[in-house]
């Protein structure tokens, strides 16, 4: 056993120590095995030290928290069969020959890299675990696609709202929300997209937000929100971390948000969508809480605080300026 060939890193003592360690881990080592091991341990202080070190490393890994554990399992256990390893000697020419031979199988493995869509229904939040262990909470009527390549994890927020708790690893993690690119810098953050208007609220760590048109990227830290609006450009300001994810508790919190954003958000939770009849109404700003289970009541109460009129139809509600009538 001690003579087995070895391909990884590590000096001989470390390798032998690891082999002994693995041998002692088997069901119940025999007295003979223990005797041999003791002889090796006592032969040299370096042996004993190397053994204690591999043992300590193993213990540390065994105590991984659930986050790390899941990430390791999903990368190395779940996906091990899928990983394609190219021999180093394989040049581009040889690779192209291989394509001809293995065409079908290669196409199959490449298709696994294609974007994986996830979506939630109206009124339903949905929690997801991505292949790297990153957790995503999707708000109602929201959708993302996840594309994982060897060097990048890319998420597209197609519509709605999502909260990301990113597992840290070698590959960068990016979210594209319409015109805005968000790059994770060690983080949990919430992204809400209303058309091309995007709000990025950081609840932990930092993110870098790059607005369209090559404008300067902004870095936001926990408790900050970056807002991009096609008309007003990009701005950064404080936000209550609890408010940014209140929707997960089925409460929608708004601070100085235009009514069209508020309405788009509640429509993701409402069976009876609200339509805004004119721009002036959409531009009114609202600060407050909308409970997901009481959207109708909130809409009915709007004329008391805003110059608006509510017209209810069977399957939708229209908000229009009160002055029009």
């Amino acid at each position: 056993m001690m003579a087995m060939t070895f391909s990884g890193a590590g000096d001989r003592v470390t390798q032998t120590a690891s082999q002994w360690w693995a041998r002692l881990r088997a069901e119940d080592p025999s007295d003979h095995t223990i005797e041999q091991w003791l002889a090796w341990m006592e032969e040299d202080e370096a042996h004993a030290r190397a053994f204690e070190e591999v043992s300590r490393l193993s213990q540390r890994l065994g105590q991984a928290d659930s986050h790390a554990r899941e990430a390791f399992v999903s990368e190395f256990v779940g996906a091990a069969e899928r990983r394609v390893r190219w021999p180093l000697w394989l040049g581009a020419v040889a690779a192209s020959l291989l394509v001809a031979v293995l065409g079908g199988r290669m196409l199959d493995s490449m298709s696994r890299l294609q974007a994986q869509p996830y979506a939630s229904d109206v009124g339903q939040n949905r929690d997801l675990a991505l292949p790297d262990g990153t957790r995503v909470a999707l708000g109602g009527a929201s959708s993302i696609t996840a594309s994982y390549a060897d060097d990048l994890r890319k998420i597209e927020l197609r519509e709605g709202e999502a909260f990301f708790n990113v597992t840290h690893e070698r590959r960068p993690f990016e979210v594209v929300a319409g015109p805005v690119l968000i790059r994770d810098l060690g983080t949990a953050f919430n992204v809400r997209r209303t058309g091309d208007r995007v709000a990025v609220a950081v609840t932990e760590g930092r993110v870098r937000v790059t607005p369209p048109g090559g404008a300067d990227a902004l870095e936001a830290a926990a408790g900050q929100q970056v807002l991009y609006d096609p008309r007003h450009g990009v701005s950064i300001g404080p936000i209550a971390v609890d408010d940014a994810t209140a929707w997960r508790g089925r409460r929608l919190e708004f601070v100085n948000e235009p009514l069209f954003v508020v309405v788009a958000s509640i429509n993701r939770y409402s069976r009876r969508p609200v339509q805004i009849a004119d721009e002036r109404v959409g531009a009114l700003t609202f600060t407050g809480t909308v409970r997901v289970d009481a959207i109708d009541r909130w809409v009915e109460a709007l004329p008391r605080v805003f110059p608006v009129q509510v017209s209810a139809f069977g399957d939708h509600v229209v908000l229009s300026s009160a002055e029009q009538h």
Binding site: I34, A48, Q59, R60, G62, A68, H168
Partner: protein, 185 residues
């Protein structure tokens, strides 16, 4: 908690003859380090190893026969090996008991401060494992991180237990070479 220079005190001597006690005290002096190392490898926990080592001495002291023990070192490790098997079995029973309700309010839990440095450690481990053949890192993660025994892994991966052991020890040596041991284990 388990700094290298710090050894547990020999157990209180409460039974057995003076000779027996002296013999066991000598065993402790000579073999306690390897005994704890043996138990730590078996149990993957230094705290459990130290606790069981104490138990081993207590058992030896409590043995009825007053004559000096013929092969004391072999007996020391046999008792330890048996206690380790019992402990592993006990853990398996506990693991099969109904688990706690999984916590789905994960976002509300603040991640502890040390998370960043812990993540740095995991990054190193992950980078090291990526350098290995897929089967090697898979067997290793299943054994060391998931805590599955070689038999179960052999079944899942359709390998012999011997090959599983081979992959696990390769990965361990590789990680040990790639990762700087932290100051505080």
């Amino acid at each position: 908690m388990d700094s290298p220079g710090q050894h547990a005190a020999p157990p209180e001597i409460s039974s057995g003859t003076e000779d027996r006690a002296a013999q066991i005290a000598a065993l402790f002096r000579e073999h306690n380090r390897t005994l704890v190392a043996f138990l730590q490898a078996r149990l993957n926990s230094r705290a459990d190893a130290q606790e069981l080592a104490q138990e081993v001495y207590v058992r030896m002291l409590a043995m009825k026969d007053a004559d000096p023990i013929a092969a004391p070192r072999a007996l020391l490790f046999r008792i330890a090996a048996n206690l380790a098997v019992d402990r592993i079995r006990m853990r398996a029973v506990r693991a099969n008991a109904p688990a706690d309700v999984p916590d789905d309010d994960w976002f509300a839990q603040p991640i502890p401060e040390q998370h960043a440095s812990a993540l740095q450690q995991w990054r190193e481990v992950r980078a090291a494992l990526r350098e290995l053949p897929a089967k090697t890192s898979k067997a290793f993660v299943m054994h060391v991180i998931e805590g599955r025994d070689f038999g179960a892994i052999a079944q899942t991966m359709k390998l012999s237990e011997r090959m599983v052991r081979y992959h696990v020890s390769n990965a361990l040596a590789h990680c040990r070479a790639r990762i700087q041991p932290s100051e505080t284990p």
